[in-house]
Symmetry: C2
Subunit: 398 residues, 2 copies
Amino acid sequence: MKLLDKGICSIDSVQVSGYREGKYGVTIIYHENSTAVGVYTTNKVYAAPIDITRKHLENGKISAVIVNSGNANCYTKEDGIKKGLQLAQLTADKLGIPVDEVAVASTGVIGRQMPMDILIPVAEKSLSQLENSRESADNAANSILTTDTVKKECAVEHSLKDGTVFRVAGICKGSGMIAPNMGTMLGFITTDLNLPQDILQEALNNSIKKSFNMVVVDGDESTNDTVLLISTNEVQGEYDENFQEALDYVCTSLAKQIARDGEGADKFMEAEASGAKSLDDAIKLSKSIVSSSLVKTALAGADPNWGRIISAMGYSGVDFNPDNVSISIGNEEEDVVIVDKGNVTTYDKPELLEAAEEIMKGKTVIFKVNVHDGEYTATAYGCDLTCEYVHINADYTT
Amino acid sequence: MKLLDKGICSIDSVQVSGYREGKYGVTIIYHENSTAVGVYTTNKVYAAPIDITRKHLENGKISAVIVNSGNANCYTKEDGIKKGLQLAQLTADKLGIPVDEVAVASTGVIGRQMPMDILIPVAEKSLSQLENSRESADNAANSILTTDTVKKECAVEHSLKDGTVFRVAGICKGSGMIAPNMGTMLGFITTDLNLPQDILQEALNNSIKKSFNMVVVDGDESTNDTVLLISTNEVQGEYDENFQEALDYVCTSLAKQIARDGEGADKFMEAEASGAKSLDDAIKLSKSIVSSSLVKTALAGADPNWGRIISAMGYSGVDFNPDNVSISIGNEEEDVVIVDKGNVTTYDKPELLEAAEEIMKGKTVIFKVNVHDGEYTATAYGCDLTCEYVHINADYTT
């Protein structure tokens, strides 16, 4: 697998654009006669564009995606559907494609009507700038952002087992309101490998479980989450696990970028839970740790308060023996064992707690826990909880 | 029902004390031959004192409770049991009662061994000050606190349907790590009504469901939660719903005091969910609202961002029709309807949003939601999420 450096434009036949005025941005992704599948929020309250996109993707064929930031177009009823379709129609007219080949996505404030007087000129300007270039890839990645502080992209080249070379490239946005099950997360992933709709869907579902669904910023789940996987169908080949591997890589990279850019976050954390009786248990344990407000604030303060880790494991709903747990605090280079199969190592060696505190001062902290009950492992991604998170969210709509 | 003003000493035969040195406090509650029942944390990782108290309460008879703050005595294994029993024995020796009639509770840092050189002198001092007075009630309520900023107590006099007068009085501590299912919450409730153990247990379970289990501060659940209900058996009478009413009142008052004193909290919120198909649904809806980090930060910033309320309802796991929901923002005096059976009132009357913003600037905010699906209602209690919460928890152990 090789990393590529042209972002969402790493597949040459895909044209993209992005344009922003103030908090309103519009991103377009354009490739005629693509195959596309989607995964959407499970929130009972979901936005109008999700209705539209789900319908337009029914037959698996799309040619363009239009995404706006600044307004979620959620809880806007018929008006929301009308305005979402208006953006799709604008895209269809400009590109000479049927309106039902346009997918729509939105992110921003909930419960406000879409300001079309602002959005239509921004969309028109964006549509006039479609091209395949490093610059347009930047514009596309930037114009979908809301409270994000950096663009998020990842692209790889990989080959199937028979040597067929293919590419997977993606952009996403997401910063707060993340998890469980995605949060205000928009992701657009392209590939040139020609795969049937059902295989694309299954591959996307698999990847999302391991990536976007393992990110927790604040535990709120958005009304607008959408991840689309779009194939340009240019490369002929049969699905094998190397495609899954490339898609997993891109999705996991994007998911980690979201956690690292969590609202107000200063630090990134991974929690790896292993030795679980089932994958579901491993997921619950790892997500309970990265979701805990007390673990998140301890991370902010570089406080190696491992009692909060074991407490979060204890209320995760997983059955395990607390006296047979191991816990370590580490980073990419080192790993300090704090609890070894139920024995607290720091009672005899207080210097280990100091070493853990040093590690927790860094920008990346990896907690590893093992319940020694089975063979399953899962890793969840999160960030610290800081004052800045409070500031960002205390006056979002005002 | 009449409010009493002598706190946990409102039942004259109960003697209490409290003494603190720095972060270590010890509270004693003493009445020989009482009947007692308890409710404990559901965290898989629970503290040593819970093992001891559960065992000593098996036959329903106790004479004293010793509670320490400053150290949770959790994840301390045999050493924890030994030291918890040491505190019980000290109490038993001083009071001339059997050790198995002493209940033990602890709150503080997890995963550190109990500093008995500090705790024993503090406990001895506390034990030497037992009495029934306004001052000792204050000391008892204060010495169980950790990050709490104010003592929490409530006492009432009520009568059974046959006119028999009885009293219920309680103290509690709890500030962060609250919910679901109690959090670092210690509660000690006394009554003089002579009721059998099984009826006391059922009454306590009923009250806790409506009170302590409806408080959310940060969503972390503690390893040490304990609520004890102790009857001095002085008043002869049969259980009727007036006893439940008095116990509910005391528990709910204490629960609200916890929410109001949430770590770093500046404001108190109630979320009342009505029109639910089941009580479970009503509980899920109301707790999802008070648990949402985004609702909590919106409250901190007095931002009437009701989109976050409907989003939190949407991911609560309850099935409802978003187009038939009503939402209002109010306080004890007024109530502004923002969504009326799916219609957003503020589209036509933006002044309503301003009125809601004014209300949200107050210290108490009540959100009412109705899904118009049935007859069940539940109310959850919470607080805002502020920078102060982050500061308190970022360097708790250091």
